[in-house]
Subunit: 366 residues, 2 copies
Amino acid sequence: MAEITSAVDGKKLLDFCVRAFVKMGVQPEDARITADVLVAANLRGIDSHGVARLARYVNGLRDGVMVAQPDTKAIHETPTTVTIDAGAGLGQPVSYRAMKQAIEKAKAYGCGFATIRNSNHYGIAGYYAMMALEEGMIGMSTTNAAVLVVPTFGRDAVYGTNPIALAVPAGQERSFVMDMATSTVPRGKLEVYHRQEKPLPLGWATDEKGVPTADAGRVLDNFAKRAGGGLLPLGGAGEEMSGHKGYGMGLMVEILSAVVPGAAFLSGVYPKDEQGKPLPANLGHFFGAWRVDAFRPAEEFEADMDRFIRELKGGALAEGATRIYVHGEKEFEEAARRAETGIPLGPKVEASLKQIAADLGLEYDL
Amino acid sequence: MAEITSAVDGKKLLDFCVRAFVKMGVQPEDARITADVLVAANLRGIDSHGVARLARYVNGLRDGVMVAQPDTKAIHETPTTVTIDAGAGLGQPVSYRAMKQAIEKAKAYGCGFATIRNSNHYGIAGYYAMMALEEGMIGMSTTNAAVLVVPTFGRDAVYGTNPIALAVPAGQERSFVMDMATSTVPRGKLEVYHRQEKPLPLGWATDEKGVPTADAGRVLDNFAKRAGGGLLPLGGAGEEMSGHKGYGMGLMVEILSAVVPGAAFLSGVYPKDEQGKPLPANLGHFFGAWRVDAFRPAEEFEADMDRFIRELKGGALAEGATRIYVHGEKEFEEAARRAETGIPLGPKVEASLKQIAADLGLEYDL
């Protein structure tokens, strides 16, 4: 039986999230930025990173693991780089402003980079990379994340799904927007297979001995118990399908996002105190912007990007295939659809939002 | 029966290559740089990109597809970026100097980037990324390449194995050096399986209909006939194992290396004239350098990189595994071995070098 869902208006959903954050003591502007990143994920069809996470942020703010009004400060700066301490605040406002700084530096010098330490979950990586598009620039963003992924030949998860996003402007065509975890699949996909009682394809995850498994419930159970195993890097287990390459991409993201700014990395993220109580996550992020016309005239570049995208999409299809995609297309199309028809909320997400409204004394008007 | 090989001294091999390039009209300094990139690949155990390719360069120079003394010039420059036209010369000397420029820009401004158009095969991507290590910087390099890889859901190869290299300095530990093609495997691996009459794992390559195949000979035959099919992106065919992510990484490299500098991309690389005669390849490359201390004190960063590497290597092993690697380790160890015992040349490579010596009237003293 299909889940009954209600589709809600994006603007109303944004407004609800803003009110929730403000109620938790977040400054209105920060609340608006954070809500916008969440709703943008829903609009783009990435529901795992949308308002389904609002409860986690509210809980984090309530428990003090996330600071509502953090003391955010630049701790190191050069003409083209800046490192920011996020003061354990929400990841979104500090990331939004850091990407703005990277863009300003790119305007002045050709390219700009910003890194952040002492932060929290920042939502979809693509949001920040796409901010560069508004200026006709190439944008990039990466973040480290909760420990879920095993290294090649390793038994235990030691790093996160560590996404990388790159956004590149085109002329007539839609921008190229890649936003991908460096694991084969995210944890949420295992949860879906578990609910549907489907076996996992071998190459998605390993059991507590570090051996590929089809048993989603076992992997999720092992996560809860920290019993070993986890998600596999892109390319799967071992080296036959080049899982060491996905592992390398994951480490690249961990280095840029966390070692470069001096955030926690590997087992250090999401620390707990001696009583097992969570401490601030100390996640790290990385942002970059390159001015296209720092390399050659922008019109030439954009015309070439159009040609690039058209040639890819116009290629001959593999047997049984119906369409060749360029990265970002699916999300742009979904965003256009959802702007019309609203954002579908599953019953679980709807219930969680209603609970937040009840807990915080907010009107639920979705 | 194992192939009988002779192990040759790296310095002698370098000298032989220099003499070959000089004989072909290449300036001595350019010859030395190019030879060094080739021999460095052999030392690191990446024999596919070593002196096995010398004949291709000699042929390219002889046929005029590669220009021995190119007119290389910067065509666009900002404080942090430069775009260079390589004048259809060898890829290595212009890439070496471009990476030097990126490093100089990083010294002055925090980071620096160089891109190149109108170039040729530049050898191993890691060579240039590793140049940053000598300055304590993070280095990056990417290049596009001959068309061999199919897009997700596509039938025909439209882009290359498009490698990405990232080099990051540590303190006591060896540097992190990732240097990987964004296809699951390179073409050379298919050739090895074909010689050994072994079936390919499904997920490496597709047949002329775009369907995964175990038949290496068929894929290689299709390459020769341009009959369709090709290597698969990291993650394999379709989306189940997230082949679209490897495809995205390949496109990222194609954009940075070729669309950004204005080189040929997709079907435009390795063009031919109306008679089917090869024209200059017009490949593109991308180089970047970030000063570590543009983000935080270098000693802190290096100490954290040491901790990062030790924690990874010290993790629990998956059942049946013997060691967890960090990227670059295998190559550093191989380089140390080969510096002692020499570089093993297979009989085919040895024969090709002897042929070059005979053709060019060089002493063969290896």
